[in-house]
């Protein structure tokens, strides 16, 4: 893992001191809320429905045990004993007091963490593949490049006041596990015909009120030009992006209104100026960052394959968990364990301080001290010997973290919604709780198979509803919650935005509507091998609409 150098330490310490002073001045009345609000937002502090909320950055979703223990400690000491992992691989604390936040930031800096650029119109936390450095289908680890982007974008003077927030994601495997095509810039590591590493650059993706799938800007940018090309894109965006209307300020709108070809010309012209300058990455620098991310030494442990088979046959629940929650590691004697934060009736993405401590202990003991946060709001142990799976499972079972549901209908992505968020129009969590309860039977979930169900409590789409195979968007209509249903969205490879089924459903109807969609799928799929999204692509919307609505368009 990357460790802070002197520059990192100095700038985080300086920011903690600066913001502590600002909080003191605000509490003393030397600053108005109007003056203070942009400052607190630049430090990840929001004011939500019930309290302040602190969003802490987890760069590219990678954590050490020590860092997770610190987050557990903060949840316990300054909050209400739990934290919420988000779809940007960050963590949010829902109940901190403003007066405590300087102390929290001080504590975070002790473990090389902070809340800088988790809000505001700047380059946000760079996200990446939560299986990076471990996945069997990976051809290059994206995290060194995410780290280079983090260092370059942190407090970047030119890009601290962009027209709107700017999100970047990087992947380096055959499967896009970071939804790069719904980012302002999506980077896909690849090799050209000579074996040289570089990136395909996708631009202009995003969700929110105007969802768009990113378009390919350039098929191959050599790795040494990563910062030059990224700078060229954001510089052109900073120059032309709209500042008169926040709803039209993202780069996706600029591309839509200006045209990709015209912008490409401008970006390429800017890149031609930049590419031989100081932004060119020396190989020595790339190598130095890469060294932080080398795969840990993993001893061969082939004897455990037989034992694992025996343990699985002896414990059906363990077998189900291995089947759903353990992915292939590049080392055949190891697996990647996803710890579900989606128990039946639970809050997607929430973990208690006790659970965080237990997971930190497991990571230290069994996963080379490494952890990941996925944008699906789960935790990941990236390097687990197959022989250690049973003891990990037993520990998770005793901690309420052994749900065997990764990739199933109860593995729901959901934003905090109206239970916490001041922007929300409707609740997300309660809908997620009801759906996970309705589909709590593991057999039934397995019958339904691979599916992604996402819920957002407002049009800002923090719950990624546009790219859920089934998406639910909560709105407010005549003082009540109403839920729009979308079908056919998809993140990752073959990215697509879901299509609205028709009229929305009340909070009493939405779970039944989801069940109708599922039953329709089960009745028309060609076999249990045909997933929901494949079936939807084959049969289209009409059959689902027919099942959901009567001839007048009213919900059945």
């Amino acid at each position: 893992m990357y460790r802070y150098d002197e520059f990192d330490k100095a700038f985080v310490a300086a920011r903690v001191a600066e913001f502590s002073d600002q909080v003191t001045r605000r509490l003393a009345g030397e600053m108005t809320e109007e003056e203070f609000m942009p400052l607190r937002l630049r430090n990840g502090v929001y004011l939500q429905l019930h309290a302040y909320m602190l969003r802490v950055a987890i760069p590219y979703g990678t954590l050490s045990s020590r860092q997770l223990r610190k987050l557990a400690h903060i949840a316990r000491r300054y909050d209400r004993g739990y934290g919420h992992f988000t779809t940007r691989q960050n963590i949010q604390f829902n109940w901190p007091r403003l007066v405590d936040i300087p102390e929290i930031l001080e504590e975070l800096s002790e473990v090389e963490m902070h809340a800088i650029q988790t809000s505001g119109n700047c380059i946000r936390n760079v996200t990446s593949d939560h299986f990076a450095g471990a996945a069997a289908d990976e051809f290059a680890d994206p995290r060194p490049y995410a780290e280079i982007l983090r260092q370059w974008s942190s407090l970047h003077p030119e890009f601290s006041y962009l027209p709107r927030k700017f999100k970047i994601a990087v992947v380096g495997a055959r499967i896009d596990r970071a939804a790069i095509q719904v980012h302002d810039i999506g980077l896909w590591l690849k090799r050209d015909s000579s074996g040289k590493l570089g990136f395909a650059f996708y631009v202009g993706g995003g969700q929110g009120r105007t969802p768009m799938v990113a378009r390919l800007l350039r098929d191959f940018v050599p790795e040494e030009d990563l910062l030059s090309y990224t700078t060229a894109i954001i510089r052109i965006y900073n120059l032309y992006g709209r500042r008169d209307n926040k709803y039209k300020a993202r780069i996706k709108i600029l591309i839509h209104e200006t045209g990709l070809e015209k912008l490409r010309e401008e970006i390429e012209a800017e890149f031609a100026i930049l590419k031989t300058g100081e932004l060119k990455l020396p190989q020595a620098d790339i190598d130095a960052i890469n060294a932080y991310f080398h795969t840990p030494d993993l001893a061969d442990r082939p004897e455990w394959h037989h034992n694992l088979d025996w343990l699985r046959s002896d414990d059906p629940a363990f077998d189900r968990w291995v089947n759903r929650n353990v992915a292939s590691h590049r080392h055949p004697d190891y697996g990647i364990v996803t710890i579900s934060l989606k128990p039946t009736g639970g809050v997607p993405g929430d973990a208690t301080s006790v659970q965080m401590d237990v997971v930190a202990d497991l990571a230290e003991r069994y996963s080379k001290d490494e952890l990941r946060v996925s944008y699906h709001q789960n935790l990941v142990l990236p390097h687990v010997a197959l022989g250690d799976l049973k003891v990990i499972y037993d520990t998770l079972l005793a901690t309420g973290l052994a749900s065997a549901n990764i990739g199933l209908i109860s593995d729901i992505i959901a934003c905090p919604g109206l239970d916490y968020c001041t922007l929300a129009n409707a609740r997300s969590i309660s809908v997620a709780q009801q759906i996970s309860a309705r589909f709590s039977s593991h057999d039934r979930q397995m019958q339904v198979g691979e599916i992604q169900l996402n819920i957002s409590g407002c049009i800002n789409a923090c719950g990624h509803h546009h790219v859920g195979h089934i998406g639910i968007l909560g709105v407010e209509k005549k003082g009540s919650e109403l839920y729009q249903l979308t079908l056919g969205g998809n993140a990752g490879n073959n990215c697509a935005i879901g299509e609205i089924t028709g009229r929305g459903f009340s909070s009493d109807e939405i779970v039944d509507a989801v069940e109708t969609v599922i039953n329709t799928y089960l009745s028309v799929r060609e076999s249990n091998k045909e997933s929901f999204i494949s079936t939807y692509r084959r049969v289209g919307m009409a059959l689902f609409r027919q099942a959901l609505y009567d001839v007048t368009g009213r919900a059945v």
């Binding site: 605000r26 509490l27 003393a28 009345g29 809320e33 004011l47 939500q48 429905l49 019930h50 309290a51 302040y52 316990r76 209400r80 004993g81 739990y82 007091r97 403003l98 007066v99 009736g345 639970g346 809050v347 929430d350 208690t352 301080s353 006790v354 109206l418 239970d419 916490y420 929300a424 129009n425 609740r427 969590i429 309660s430 709780q433 407010e476 003082g479 009540s480 919650e481």
Partner: protein
């Protein structure tokens, strides 16, 4: 006019508070003072301005309410959730608070 109450967030911890009849700010929604005239609303707005200037509160706003069975109820769900806390508290209470 519809009945209105004055609410805000407390500066130090962001906790929702409601202006009440004794001239202070309460953490209990049920203690909220009710304005039923435009003059009373003007008075609430002046109170809010003073409290903001004294650094007691932020984000003051008037909220529509009605009385049901002798109890005050906010018309919007958002304000009811602000008053009563997340609707998922049973889960949150299971955490090691």
């Amino acid at each position: 006019m519809s009945l209105k109450i004055l609410t805000a967030s407390r500066l130090t911890d962001g906790h929702p508070v409601w202006y009440c009849t004794d001239g202070g700010w309460s953490k209990e929604f049920s203690n909220a003072a009710v304005a039923d005239t435009s003059l009373a609303c003007l008075l609430f707005e002046r109170v809010a301005k003073q409290a903001i200037e004294k650094n007691e509160i932020v984000d003051a706003t008037l909220v529509d309410v009605e009385t049901r069975d002798g109890r005050l109820v906010a018309l919007r769900l958002r304000e009811r959730i602000r008053a009563n806390g997340p609707t998922i508290t049973s889960y949150a209470q299971n955490q090691s608070i």
